[in-house]
Symmetry: C2
Subunit: 388 residues, 2 copies
């Protein structure tokens, strides 16, 4: 284990029927007016919006709102919300939605305390020093943004999907009611599970030695996610499976699974971000394509780790280390396919001649990864593996 | 999973060479004078005291001290420290030691903000409303007190070893340098591992259904603990094993492993507390005696859970559910024996005619447990099983 500092101040309120606590929590923080940030309006249909605003009114919390946050959330929406928050002199931000809404809200929180362009933080020109307090009601569990300090935003003018992280961006309170996720369509449920697995993979495969307890922890999250996403594809309203999938998503990237490691590999995520920005592919689907290809390209860098993965996740006990590793990568693809996720670039309509452009985009932040440091030519090779 | 609220604000600084950060952390909280609380003086020999006080001086943090905290820490020492803290007008408390020192410090923290007898909180007459800020340098990993809100104190006049918990008692900052634990004698190392396992057992066996991810998490902590304590009995200075054992101890009872459950069973701990208070047996050794006996008495209440335990921890795959459960309990005793821990009351000198007195003591808080609610006669039966 490497030395680490761990502190996660977010208060999680988890379970069925908890959304009506949001007004009280906000008021307890001395916040009297919030900007509600949400997406395309599913919260208007499933009753979440009504329940939240009722709770705000009951606790005399005034509110204004910005809606229309898209998957792969964009900078222009962040800027619109920052302007609104400043004009309306709100004292806090309230995210209602999934990771995209949370990530947008986090960008707004630091943008409200900064006179320059909030993108400066994503370009790593400077670090955020303070932020407007963030509250949230999570309606799609996948990114763990509800309990971490990270945000990923797409600058659509510059084709950059980049991240920013700071302790000032931890939400104060997040409410997770898994029941509201019962109406997610199957492909979105699948994508959330893939995203969770991918977060754990980034940490699991970062190459750090002597982290048994974290390897075990990671494997537990992966196995539980794989089990319950399958249940939900058959039985989408199964509350207990929604609850377990939701908590796995939070644990996958709330920091607890990353302590003592090198910080994660993140090459696959970075490559996937280029797919999202160039093709608008959903994050989970993009990860289902990129991750097995990345594994195939890098597994020799730490064959023992891939052997362990094969044994612990897919019960593969026969064969050489290499055979086990390769079989596990195939099994992973088969699993993703069983969720109806794409596993090749071809399936999402990418043309062979476009791989160079994707590589160029991803290579803007090269070298990527820690298990193997990837330059542009490595990224291109991974894309070639991912193609077919 | 049951509904839950989770928030753990403690900042953990983990790793080799981190103790010198304590002065800065305390100063960052605006605290200029602390009461140092410690035990029997091992920190004077191993250099920890010197390193801490050097750091305090470098950051202009004034200090006074109370030493002599014993294992199974007592109320009279708590009261001595409260008086000192009040007289000296300190602004914070600094625990240097293991769980006993931390638990004492937590009792002092609420006692300093209360005019009455601090034992009132342990009697559950009222709840603490505020506390003096707690900082700590952990030198023995076992209780997770460094990252939780609980404290167990023995009222030696009334033969009560009772607990108190409140969010105001979370330490602000705990530094865990596993390297300083390299000099722990083998029996203490074994006891810390048993204590960690016992905490996980209390949660694991509390009977809550649909908590796969937490069962997996628990099993990971148990397997990692069992692996690395064995390494350390051969090679006490193995840093990586010390680090993994230390982090397992923290995870075992920092709340992360308890979410979504019923709160843990805790019958075995309560029975053990009576052994500690009446015989002065160390907590880990007492748990090695009580836990297998408790398991033997209650396993039929949830045979599936004990079967899972048998399979996941001891790879027992043959036999009926009952055979697997009983074999696992035997394997657990064999494991504790391999750590040179006692596994019967006889071994620690308890006489058969004393079992009633132990049962009386433990039954003061009856009914105990959640998997099976234990009254005095149940406790006596468990003690009979534990005897031989």
């Amino acid at each position: 284990m490497k030395n680490f500092v761990y502190q996660n101040p977010t208060k999680i309120i988890f379970g069925e029927g908890t959304i009506n606590q949001i007004g009280k929590e906000i008021k307890n923080h001395g916040v009297n007016k919030v900007l509600i940030i949400y997406g395309g309006g599913s919260i208007l249909k499933n009753g979440v919006y009504e329940e939240v605003t009722k709770s705000l009114k009951e606790h005399d919390v005034d509110y204004v709102e910005v809606s229309g946050v898209q998957p792969n959330p964009v900078l222009s929406k962040v800027q619109e919300a920052i302007n609104k928050a400043k004009e309306e002199k709100v004292e806090g931000l309230l995210a209602i939605g999934g990771g995209s809404v949370y990530d947008t809200t986090k960008a707004v929180s630091i943008g409200c305390h900064y006179e320059g362009n909030v993108w400066d933080f994503y370009e790593r020109k400077l670090k955020p020093k303070s932020a407007m307090p963030i509250f949230g009601v999570l309606t799609i569990s996948a990114t763990a943004s509800e309990m971490n300090m990270g945000s990923v935003i797409t600058n659509e003018d510059e084709d950059k999907k980049w991240s920013c992280g700071s302790p000032v961006m931890y939400p104060k309170v997040s409410i997770i009611d898994p029941k509201v996720q019962a109406t997610l369509p199957p492909n979105q449920t699948a994508n959330t599970a893939i995203d969770t697995m991918a977060h754990v993979f980034e940490l699991y495969f970062d190459g750090t030695e002597d982290v048994d307890v974290l390897m075990e922890y990671s494997e537990g999250i992966i196995r539980t996610t794989m089990k319950h996403v399958k249940v939900l594809l058959e039985d989408p309203t199964n509350y207990q499976s929604r609850a377990q999938l939701a908590w796995c998503a939070t644990l996958g990237l709330n920091g607890s699974n990353g302590v003592g490691r090198s910080g994660g590999d993140w090459a696959s995520h970075n490559i996937e971000h280029s797919l999202s920005v160039l093709y608008g592919v959903s994050h989970g689907a993009g990860l289902a394509i990129v991750f097995p290809a990345w594994m195939k390209y890098v597994y020799k860098e730490n064959i023992d780790m891939f052997e362990r993965f094969a044994e612990q996740i897919f019960n593969i006990t026969e064969g050489t280390k290499e055979e086990k590793a390769l079989k596990a990568i195939e099994e992973l693809k088969i699993f993703f396919k069983s969720l109806n996720a794409p596993v090749t670039l071809k399936e999402i309509g990418v043309k062979p001649e476009e791989l160079d452009e994707i590589a160029d985009n991803a290579a803007m932040q090269a070298p990527l990864g820690t298990l193997k440091k990837l330059e542009r030519e490595d990224i291109l090779e991974i894309l070639k593996i991912a193609y077919k």
